[in-house]
């Protein structure tokens, strides 16, 4: 029974990926390129060379965190779409602190301070929709989306005005001090940040699978009325979940700042942005921490591979965004579940009667 469930979950995760790749392949064919070659470049270098794989792990670090940040709320059916904004805010202010710290400060202390600033910013920004949801019943999804746009505009304003580094040719903030940067290991890009992400992953694994809070999150997601009636004080749990989510997002932003970007630019988080990537990863991983870890590494391989595509083939790397959208689209449908499969669902209408109307007596 258990093994069957696991198999079905695996199929539900892998099939959408395959489908998306097939459609992406058709698009590549249409622009006159060879999809197999393209996919070979995409995954080969990022997964099957040591340096490439270490780089993949490096880029996976913020994705693990944003994936967990999304999963912890989505699992409870709370839709924190603000991960992107929380991440950017955390990154921005950890960057500001990173530039203004005295250069003589102990690196460990400097790094800790920057991370803490990122976490705090993420939490503070997540608290706005959290309070509105918990105490005023305002739909958190619309609010977080709105605030994302607002936050991007605010940061744009700050980056182009107050904090702009005019010595640079384009809009950006000054580079953070060296003591606030995570040093690299060897000739790969891997830094301390990956191990911080792994530590957080372990902590979240325990929280979601072993703790009372994890139990409550599951219950709230499955049946909020039941959760309330059994004394879980759902509004408080919403606050806690959002705080965790915001903290992870802020941490992801700060870590990405300190291990990769070192300065805030208008395209800091890339496109579609680490927060949105986190959503794909959470879905791909089925909201389970281990799944998220695997999905983050896989997705990071896609992203690092995308740069190779640009270098070694004529396919624009934006094909990866298309594939990403397709993966999410197909992930929305459960291709197999415990009782039915897609074929039955398609043909049920013709085959059977509306058996749902069976009396409660049965």
């Amino acid at each position: 029974m258990k093994r069957l469930d696991f198999g079905k979950r695996l199929v539900n995760s892998i099939l959408p990926v395959l489908l998306a790749f097939v459609i992406g392949g058709i698009v590549i064919l249409m622009i006159g390129e060879n999809p197999l070659d393209t996919y070979g470049i995409l995954l080969g270098k990022s997964l099957f060379t040591v340096k490439g794989f270490l780089n993949t792990l490096h880029y996976a670090s913020p994705l693990i965190l944003t994936g967990l940040a999304i999963a912890v709320t989505f699992k409870a059916n709370i839709f924190n779409m603000g991960v992107e904004g929380q991440l950017l805010l955390g990154a921005f202010f950890s960057g500001i602190v990173g530039t203004s710290l005295p250069a003589s400060l102990n690196p460990a202390a400097a790094q800790l301070i920057c991370l803490a600033v990122g976490v705090i910013c993420g939490v503070v920004f997540a608290l706005v929709p959290a309070i509105l949801k918990a105490y005023c019943h305002v739909n958190e999804m619309v609010v977080t989306l709105m605030l994302n746009y607002a936050m991007i505009k605010v940061l744009e304003f700050l980056a182009t005005g107050v904090f702009r580094d005019y010595s640079s040719g384009y809009v950006c903030k000054p580079i953070i001090k060296e003591n606030a940067m995570f040093p690299r290991f060897g000739n790969s890009k891997l830094t301390m940040f990956f191990f911080i992400a792994i530590l957080i992953f372990i902590a979240m694994y325990v929280v979601i699978n072993k703790s009372k809070l994890g139990y409550e999150i599951t219950a709230i997601g499955k049946n909020p009325e039941f959760a309330e009636a059994t004394g879980m004080k759902v509004h408080k749990k919403i606050m806690i979940m959002m705080v965790i989510s915001g903290a992870l997002s802020g941490l992801a932003g700060a870590g990405y700042m300190m291990s990769e970007q070192f300065k805030y630019t208008l395209s800091f988080s890339g496109n579609p942005g680490l927060g949105w990537d986190g959503m794909l990863i959470a879905l791909l991983g089925g909201h389970s921490p281990v799944g998220i870890l695997v999905a983050a590494i896989f997705y990071s391989a896609l992203k690092t591979g995308a740069d190779h595509i640009n270098l070694y083939s004529a396919v624009p790397k934006e094909i990866v965004s298309v594939i990403q959208g397709l993966i999410i689209l197909f992930l929305a449908v459960k291709f197999v579940d415990e009782h039915t499969n897609i074929r039955e669902r398609l043909f049920r209408k013709k085959a059977g009667k509306p058996e749902t109307a069976i009396s409660e007596e049965a």
Binding site: V27, I31, N77, F79, L132, C136, H137, V138, N139, M141, V142, V143, L145, M146, L147, N148, Y149, A150, K153, V154, E156, F157, T160, G161, N223, P224, E225, A227, E228, A229, V234, H235, I238, N271, P272, W276, M279, L283, P316, E318, I319, S321, V322, Q324, G325, L326, I328, L329, L331, A332, V333, K334, I342, R345, L346, P354
Partner: protein, 304 residues
């Protein structure tokens, strides 16, 4: 005096695409399908209309194809969400990402960061209403808008009739409120859900064409900038009533008009004015929600 006139003109100008999204989106709302893909549908409409106009120099064809492209997205949404019973929130997000990814992909292939329609002048697309035009102030506010802007305002009335005065509207509401009741009178509930979603898609396509081709003669990626979500917020606040929801859309248009017109006086802080519409929408949502739950003594939350 002038500035008030400008603000009011801009209010209409900026309200139009959101009104279109709103009056299209209310059907899905009433049919109890949460369609957050409005944003993506609008973006693909904006993109396809400009791209078509750019390649064929035919604006009408551009608008038509914009609606068809959005319709295609609507079909994907309904197929995945209604027929395959997927999670509509995730599908909606996927469509939003996909629209942006497709536009970006094509833009990169075209080696450009935006499409500009240099063959035409957007001022030529503005229609001047013969008599109204000459009324002082009112004329300058109501006249001189492009065609789709007028369509959007007329659409409010049209959708009101469709929603409340025809079988179709009643059936959509029945499907949304009590699916059992709909089935008991033999309604094909999936058909009405499809129809509701597709109406929204076509309207969003039109909104997109208005936003890019008709108003600016320009497409840049992600130019919808959350208008689809603002439309959703407006639908929520207006609880799916065509008139009430459209009023909330106009509130956003006003916020946008204020931010555009006042930023002239703001100097370097002008950038911050872009934040106003979003913040206002959050405030409106909060107020509406607080009022709605004023009497609520029941603790806890429902799964939406």
């Amino acid at each position: 005096m002038d500035i008030i006139g400008n603000i009011l003109y801009d209010t209409i100008y900026h309200s139009a695409p959101i009104i279109l999204c709103v009056i299209g989106g209310i059907f899905a709302y009433k049919a109890n399908v949460l369609n957050i893909a409005l944003e993506g549908m609008m973006l693909i409409g904006a993109f396809v209309s400009t791209l078509t106009a750019f390649m064929t120099q035919n604006i009408a064809l551009g608008v038509l194809l914009a609606m068809l492209a959005a319709l295609a997205f609507g079909v994907v949404f309904s197929l995945m969400g209604v027929t395959f019973k997927g999670n509509v929130i995730i599908i909606g997000l996927a469509i939003n990402l996909l629209a942006s990814a497709i536009a970006k992909f094509v833009l990169v292939r075209m080696n450009t960061s935006n499409i500009t329609l240099s063959f035409m002048n957007v001022a030529d697309l503005k229609l001047h209403i013969p008599v109204v035009e000459n009324i002082p102030l009112v004329g300058s506010i109501l006249s001189g808008h492009p065609l789709i802007t007028y369509i959007s305002f007329l659409g409010i009335f049209f959708m009101w009739v469709l929603m409340y005065k025809t079988r179709f509207g009643i059936y959509v509401r029945v499907v949304g409120e009590n699916e059992d009741a709909a089935k008991s009178i033999g309604l094909k509930t999936d058909f009405y859900k499809y129809a509701a979603i597709l109406i929204g898609a076509v309207c969003c396509g039109l909104a997109g064409a208005n936003l890019s081709t008709e108003r600016l003669g320009l497409f840049t990626n992600d130019m919808t900038a959350g208008r689809g979500f603002i439309a959703i917020a407006a639908i929520y606040c207006g609880q799916g009533s065509p008139t009430l929801s459209a009023i909330y859309a106009i509130v956003f248009g006003l916020a946008r008009a204020l931010s555009v017109n006042l930023s002239i006086y703001a100097g370097p802080a002008a950038g911050l004015f872009d934040v106003i519409p979003y913040v206002i929408m959050v405030c409106v949502l909060t107020v509406v929600s607080v009022l709605k739950h004023k009497n609520n003594k029941i603790r806890g939350f429902k799964n939406e």
